[in-house]
Amino acid sequence: MNFELTEEQVLLADTVERALLAAAGSRTGVDGEWDAIVALGLPGLLVDEAAGGAGLGAAETFLVMEALGHAGSRAPFLSRIVLPCAFLHALDPAAPLLGRIASGEATVVTGGLDPADAPLSCSDAGVRLFGTLLIPDGCEADTLLLIDREGARAFLLEMSSHGVATAEIERLDGGALTRVALNGASGELIAQGDPVIHAADAALMLGNAALCAEAAGIMRALVDKTSAYLVHRRQFGTNLSSFQVLQHRLVDMRLHQELSRSMAAGAAMAVDAGSASSPARVVAAAKIQLCLAGRRIAEEAIQLHGAIGMTDELDVGRYAKRLLVIEQTLGNRFHHLDRLMAESEICDAAKASERACR
């Protein structure tokens, strides 16, 4: 494994970080951040060059998501870019819709991909769809990419079409969820069978790796903020950072943040490397690590800030709440623990006892 960034990757990370900083300065909120993402051509990050994109992969997704996390951004890069592009690309890298996402003409969000989503039901040979979904950042999307995992089918449908009712719900982290009720809406069947399962797995893997990267960026911000607070805050006539009990707790925060960053980067590298690296196992392990460390670091950040850490005005709480949402997106740690136990050698009891008898 080589964790070092290429020159292009360093440049990408710097550019995204600077653009997000500028957007934050301009006080235009999520819209400003999204404009910055579009201006940098990031919607085409995962789209092949032949289709008008940059043809990049999980490593670059890691860099973008880490920067978004660190900046505390709520820009819907995961829901509008990473998930639909990963799914569509796995189905057909030359799909015209990918080019339209890259150019910003199409805004696509996925539904039915998250293990928490309720199953869909269909009628009329599968083109009439019924069900209710909670879709992150779905409000401004024009197209819904629906994945029916049980039936192994994928559909495209216009958000404005007949039989689609949407309602906005606020999210724990201050972002937006769209409640989409499908009542006989007609969708265009774009794939079925094994390719759908394969594409859903690919999207979930890249999506989870991306969430880990965002969480790693958030943790870096939380540890940096807590460190700075301990250095500046004075009590008992001295800086809080002079107390050993606080020093040690901060070191542990930094340690778990570094472990998390390594796992997030490792997951991205495993996704890029493909099956030889057992990416399913690495991604599941990474998500578990990031969920556990995320809780720990967020709780410590609040505690070490004292009462000010409980205020809504301080951004520590916003970062902490984003971590809680990440935990529950695309499978929480229990889901991934089950996956890891299924993937891992530990269930290969026969092999293990054979070794034991050597």
């Binding site: 494994m1 960034l5 930094r254 490792g266 009891a349």
Partner: protein, 396 residues
């Protein structure tokens, strides 16, 4: 960012693996994998096999008989050796004195001592800690008073690992009591067979006697045994602390013990079913796998980063986490042993014990667990490591 190692590194791993699998003597491998006690003869025999291959001192440069490996190569070596059942290199001569002599020794000292260390003809013990100088090493009081061409050394050293089977000891001694604590200390090599030296093994909670007290009563030591400048021994001590960024995390050891846990979970039954089929064991096993993976990725990441890009706290963070994870695995192994941990027989720590009361694989686990408690104490306690790391990590 790339998952796959370079072709050279891949080849290197294969080379080390092939050698390790073919070369570890069966009895030594069995002792090591079962967690039995190893003696001087076991270590010497294995290190001499490594020496014949030119690999007995992985961190030494080529010009002094080492293989001249990169940090990554050393990590891979550690990994493959442990997974093949080879005991770690615990020799203080190889790990500590050698690098100090290479950095600070005279040509004469290098010529005289390095070859015998490489071939494990001489066993060296470390003599740093004292009864009143543990974590606060600079408060050490063992005195070395110049007397002609010699020093007369008087004092007491504690926690000297493997001192009972060592021939010589390298120590930190006070040569200028008037100077500030860290200024008046010198690095001195002492023959443990000299008159006035007494080595007393200390029995530890795991039943072992690897730790020793060394009493020095007016021991005559030639001035030629001084390493580095007089009163400048602290420089050597600090140098030792910065040496092992790479293998300090003990990733090979974690993987090897995790594999042991996995096998024992499959082979040990509770309520008629293998432990691994019990959700509580399966979950802990999986979480330990996550911990080991995170540790390994972090070591590889910090290894790749050049020194300037890190905070300087990397070695401390890796030491803290590496020992925490290893201790967690040993604690898990203790739970795997369950009631088999209760019978306490020294024979169970040695090859050839055939008491049927407890499975031979489970019998050593209580002692192994107790022994593992030292990991967060030696090499700078994890609390001292946190103090060091805090200086780098706490920035405005």
């Amino acid at each position: 960012m790339n998952w796959d190692p370079s072709p050279e590194i891949k080849l290197f791993r294969e080379e080390v693996r092939a050698f390790a699998r073919a070369s570890v003597p069966d009895d030594i491998r069995l002792k090591f994998e079962r967690g039995y006690r190893l003696g001087r003869d076991d270590y010497t025999r294995w290190y001499q096999i490594l020496a014949a291959r030119g690999w007995s001192a992985p961190a030494w440069p080529k010009e002094h008989g080492g293989p001249g490996w990169s940090p990554l190569q050393r990590l891979i070596f550690d990994d493959e050796m442990l997974l093949a059942g080879a005991p770690r290199i615990i020799s203080a001569g190889i790990n500590m004195l050698g690098p100090v002599l290479i950095a600070f020794g005279t040509e004469e000292q290098k010529r005289c001592y390095l070859p015998a260390i490489l071939r494990t003809e001489t066993w060296w013990a470390q003599g740093f800690s004292e009864p009143e100088a543990g974590s606060d090493l600079a408060s050490l009081r063992t005195r070395a008073v110049p007397d002609g061409d010699d020093f007369i050394v008087t004092g007491q050293k504690s926690w000297s690992s493997y001192g009972h089977f060592s021939d010589r000891m390298f120590t930190l001694v006070r040569t200028d009591p008037a100077a500030k604590p860290q200024r008046g200390i010198s690095f001195l090599m002492i023959d443990l067979n000299a008159p006035g030296v007494e080595v007393r093994p200390v029995r530890t909670i795991d039943g072992g006697t690897d730790l020793n007290e060394v009493w020095l009563d007016a021991v005559r030591v030639p001035r030629a045994n001084l390493v580095g400048a007089l009163d400048d021994g602290w420089t050597c001590a600090k140098y030792l602390l910065t040496l092992e960024r790479t293998t300090i995390a003990g990733i090979g050891a974690c993987k090897q013990q995790l594999r042991r846990a996995r096998m024992l979970c499959a082979a040990t039954k509770h309520g008629g079913r293998p432990l691994i089929e019990h959700p509580s064991f399966a979950e802990r096993m999986a979480l330990l796998e996550v911990d080991v993976m995170a540790l390994e990725f972090t070591a590889l990441r910090m290894l790749g980063a050049n020194a300037e890009s890190g905070s300087g706290a990397e070695a401390s963070l890796l030491k803290i986490r590496g020992t925490e994870v290893r201790q967690a695995i040993y604690a898990f192994l203790l739970d795997v042993a369950g009631p088999a941990a209760v019978p306490w027989r020294e024979e169970a720590m040695h090859l050839g014990d055939d008491d049927p009361a407890v499975a031979a694989e489970l019998a050593p686990l209580a002692a192994n667990y107790l022994d593992s408690r030292k990991l967060s104490i030696y090499g700078g306690t994890n609390e001292v490591q946190r103090n060091i790391a805090a200086r780098m990590v706490l920035r405005p």
